[in-house]
């Protein structure tokens, strides 16, 4: 599951708050199961948010991140368009979603 909090519309030039959360165990790779076997690392390592073709926010994560990571960041809106959100885990699997935003008239 992915949850995004973003306004549907904004004033021209307004700075908006964006929140993005993804459901993910973020298994660090340091823990062991009941039998003493290492639980393989399974983390989301890369996140990026694009507005149309422009990268707005980008971050790389390590095994210290807690499960179900939540990000809050800000972006200035200069025109109507679409935000594209993408998480990538260590195996290259991508989780994507998008949200359109309009300019208040």
């Amino acid at each position: 599951m992915i949850r995004i909090s973003i306004p549907q519309s904004a004033d021209l030039g307004e700075v908006i708050e964006i929140k993005a959360m993804i459901q993910h165990p973020m298994e660090s790779g340091y823990r062991r199961d009941e039998m003493g076997r290492t639980i393989p690392r399974d983390i989301v390592a890369h996140f990026s948010c694009r507005f149309e073709s422009q990268v707005v926010f980008k971050t790389d994560w390590g095994p210290g991140m807690a499960a179900n990571p939540l990000l809050t960041f800000f972006a200035r809106v200069n025109r109507a368009g679409t935000f594209y959100f993408e998480w990538k885990d260590l195996n290259g699997k991508a989780f994507k979603t998008e949200r359109a935003i309009e300019i208040n008239r």
């Binding site: 599951m1 929140k19 165990p25 973020m26 179900n68 939540l70």
Partner: protein
């Protein structure tokens, strides 16, 4: 005069229940004063309270959203929404009435049991495994519908033996540490267990998001943790004894409102 060695005095000091009548000493504590009944929410830090109250940042809502999808559509097959409307007040408050007696199964069932009964009998599908992502999502969604409504289990004649068994379990000393649930959650609620505050042990927030689990979990998973914590044998998820304890705890928490998906340490 008989001299008693000092070590014996120390042993007597720490083993009071051995020579007081265990049953009568607990009897007057059986029922918490309703005025003093406090949800686990009250024992949280301000930060955790804020997280629980924030419907976006509270990670439990990830499961609620997934549950909403599962409830509504099941790829063309009959879904929960084929029979139940979330706008129906009887249905939306149903989580407050579990565990309850099931006429068709002739036993006590909780919300998980009801969901699996629906799937097997009405939808002719496989039941969900307990603690599976699907089961947690659905129980979280249905419990969330009853958010803010008081726990309201019915103590009918059929469920009385279960209630009694649950109560016995709550007051019975068990495990290597020889502790009963009541010794922490009745007698020492509000005191500290190492770095943690001891709550009264109410079930009104389940399924809930626990920091320790980094995930949503059910009451039965929590009970397993409690039993393991006092070095007693954890009972299976969905077992009759845990269902009985769930009934006793729900009755004991009567009046508290549902908080699922709650946040706890």
């Amino acid at each position: 005069m008989i001299r008693i060695p000092g070590i014996v005095w120390v042993m007597l000091l720490f083993s009071a229940p051995l020579w007081s009548d265990e049953v009568t000493s607990f009897a007057d504590r059986e029922d918490l004063d309703p005025v003093l009944v406090q949800s686990g929410y009250e024992w949280l830090t301000p930060e955790s309270k804020a997280l629980q109250d924030d419907e976006f940042e509270n990670p439990g809502w990830l499961w609620v959203e997934r549950g909403r999808q599962l409830f509504a559509s099941d790829s063309g097959e009959p879904s929960c929404a084929s029979c139940h409307q979330t706008s129906d007040l009887i249905f939306s408050s149903s989580a407050t009435r579990f565990p309850r007696w099931s006429d068709s199964q002739q036993t006590l069932i909780n919300l998980e049991g009801q969901i699996n009964q629906c799937r097997e009998l009405r939808m002719a599908r496989e039941s969900f495994a307990l603690e599976s992502s699907e089961m947690l999502s659905l129980t979280a969604f249905v419990s969330q519908l009853a958010r803010g409504q008081p726990v309201n289990v019915a103590l009918t004649e059929e469920v009385k033996p279960f209630w009694q068994a649950g109560r016995d379990y709550f007051f019975r000393r068990k495990g290597q540490m020889n502790l009963a649930c009541s010794q922490c959650h009745d007698e020492r609620a509000g005191q500290r267990l190492r770095g943690d505050l001891i709550s009264q042990g109410h079930p009104n927030g389940f399924p809930l998001y626990r920091y320790e689990w980094q995930s949503l979990g059910s009451l039965h998973r929590r009970l397993q943790d409690c039993d393991a914590g006092i070095r007693a044998e954890p009972q299976p998820l969905g077992s009759e004894i845990y269902l009985s304890v769930e009934l006793y705890l729900a009755w004991r928490a009567g009046g508290l409102t549902l908080e699922s998906p709650a946040i706890r340490r």
